[in-house]
Subunit: 404 residues, 2 copies
């Protein structure tokens, strides 16, 4: 395969945050009626103005700059004293030990951790199980490293009390030779949390087939009331076969600092560091200091953040559920909601462009997450509460206007 | 090739900055005499405490944080208004147009730019010409993407007025099917600048064979008195076949912010952005703001920085040239110096470890840059002047002690 075909599979035109590069050619012919005015909302990512970064994060960054070279030039895997602090927090949070010296790496964002983890476990022709729907980069990463994607469906829309992963399909995937299973929990885009039984089954299957599991737990701190969360790495599974990815980018609104961590398997972390040396050297040195605020927020701060997000979620659910033909599962964690739309007279991707042009509302098309999600759109509702509700009202108004 | 053999080629034990992870096992048996006391100097990278970041950089960063979401979430290729500012500066600096919208990408460090550029031009089996010696990551990147390295020697030690690239070897390389030529100018580690004739020949050869050239110009602003610099991209060569990489990480001591840029070929930049979306999403949003200080330093600031570095260079040259059997070419740009050592009774890699243990002096072994540079060591002399000179005096004292 030459370089052109390799990159033709890496489309980013519909990727969150890239809407500014979309051409609007041809869409005018499809437009009905006038634009609806209202404050623009970009649901493709959280709004760090509405939900401000962790108190003290900027001050810790400044102190990092002040301390100079020691903070600018860390080991490729990140500053040791920060890794050791984090190891304690993450061990306590996930319920299984983390080795600060050899079992954790600090990366430029959780995206950096995902990239390194996949690059360190997947080589040409390896089979990798990917959930549908799941975070759009997962499949692209496997593609980029010439792995073979084995899809596993998640019936999030039709079940309750569990994510809805088709465990039979996952077992078939392992049986067919899958070496790596990569998934997000809470799921991005559906906002659902895997049940204890699902996680235990994943651990048992991965153990039986000696597969590596990479679990992206980016949103695992933002759990709504009544939701239980099970950490895969604390279950019966060889610790050397699990990499867990987290980061203070979302819940804590620290995305602007680009920080993530991967922890678990020492062998895989060692490979990830070797690769980080040629990919980006290290996470920004001064930014690494900001990790000292993580799992170290002021009392009550996280609880309030969760409460505020839950209130927005509840209002958006009301707006969507009042619309005939729209279906949406209650998000259990994180700030994503993934409603499906009724039959429209335009395609899902055209509707997404129309939404931007006529309503000032940016959402991410469902096809970024699964080829079977053409009728769904993902919204990150970590936004100004009132603006988010008003934007969703414009969204459903356009649903009515373009209904088939 | 499986993942284990792939990563076994990516050794980082001797890579700059990783010395803390080296085991010292076995070295004690080789030690002669006592340790020499003195202030430790880590020549593996510049000292941002000795040479402070650009005035105003922290203030611009703070303003970026203050401006919030707009700065945190940029396009994957970086903030447009910053790209447009940079395009003007870089066009004027290099003498050829830069398209701010489509012809430049902001990356996490110049390492990020190098990674993306190689990943976007080299696929399995492609032949890539790599200079020996040159920046250690160059060969590792080609290895990682399963390209085939075609070495081209640079006789920096035996010539004057040019870098010493063996142009005949380069032509043979293109003749044998090399598609990409990747090199640093000024050269890292030798600190030499390619002559106008060399750059014109590279342009002519690349054009004749329709090859892509990636030129890492990280140090091209730090030129010592009397040195002319020729920008490849301003020569007779198809602009779509050239990617130039720079960044404010070294000369400007802004490494702690992790910023780099690649500019030139629109097609390659487009691929690089697609890949950045899954590698790290974007350069740290807040950090991107710091680029507004680049090529925008206070009057006289750069001239003073160059003068101070040149003074350190001159003193180190004196120390090395007073030592029998040590050879060193005068660095023409940047802050690297690459002396060769006389015959010792221990191997080059053992001597590097001994230096660290007995003299508190960290240098990078020559074999990181070329298999033919076992007798050389690289020093980044962007350090406190007096401490650097004293450390080099300890280095030559140990050369005497271990002389064969």
């Amino acid at each position: 395969m030459n370089i052109h075909s390799k990159f033709s599979r890496l489309g980013t035109d519909a990727a969150p945050g890239q809407e500014v590069r979309q051409q609007s050619g041809g869409i005018e012919a499809l437009l009905r009626g006038d634009a609806i005015t209202g404050r623009s909302v970009d649901f493709s990512h959280g709004d760090v103005d509405a939900f401000a970064p962790t108190p003290g994060s900027f001050e810790v960054f400044s102190a990092g700059v002040e301390s100079g070279g020691k903070q600018a030039y860390t080991e490729y895997r990140g500053d040791l004293s920060i890794r050791e602090e984090l190891a304690q927090h993450l061990a306590s949070f996930t319920g299984a030990p983390v080795d600060g010296r050899d079992g954790i790496i600090i990366t430029p964002g959780t995206q950096g951790a995902l990239f390194l983890a996949v690059a360190s476990t997947v080589s040409r022709g390896d089979k990798v199980a990917i959930v549908q729907p799941d975070y759009f980069a997962n499949r692209k990463l496997v593609d980029f490293f010439d792995g073979e994607i084995v899809p596993v469906q998640m019936d999030y829309a039709s079940v309750e009390g569990r994510a809805g992963l088709q465990l039979g399909q996952l077992e078939d995937a392992f049986e067919s030779g899958v070496k790596v299973f990569l998934f997000s929990n809470p799921n991005n885009p559906a906002g659902v949390v895997y049940s204890r039984e699902e996680i235990e089954s994943i651990a048992a299957l991965a153990s039986r087939y000696n597969a590596t599991v990479i679990v992206d737990q980016l949103y695992s701190r933002l759990l709504y009331s009544g939701v239980d969360y099970t950490h895969l790495r604390a279950q019966k599974i060889d610790a050397e076969n699990v990499i867990t990815i987290m980061g203070p980018s979302k819940t804590e609104s620290l995305s602007g600092y680009r920080l993530g961590v991967a922890f678990g398997s020492k062998e895989i972390i060692t490979r990830m560091e070797k690769l980080q040396a040629i990919v980006s050297l290290r996470a920004g040195g001064y930014s690494q200091a900001v990790l000292r605020t993580w799992f170290n927020e002021p009392d009550g701060w996280m609880e309030q953040r969760i409460r505020e997000h839950q209130a927005i979620r509840d209002d958006l659910l009301k707006v969507f559920r009042a619309t005939a033909g729209m279906k949406v599962r209650t998000s259990e964690a994180g700030s994503y909601i993934f409603p499906s739309l009724p039959q429209l007279s335009v395609s899902g991707s055209d509707f997404v462009r129309i939404l931007r042009l006529q309503a000032g509302v940016i959402v991410t098309p469902g096809t970024e997450f699964s080829p079977h999600s053409e009728n769904s759109v993902r919204l990150n509702f970590s936004q100004d509460h009132a603006a988010a509700v008003a934007a969703c009202e414009r969204l459903v108004e356009l649903v009515e206007r373009y209904r088939a």
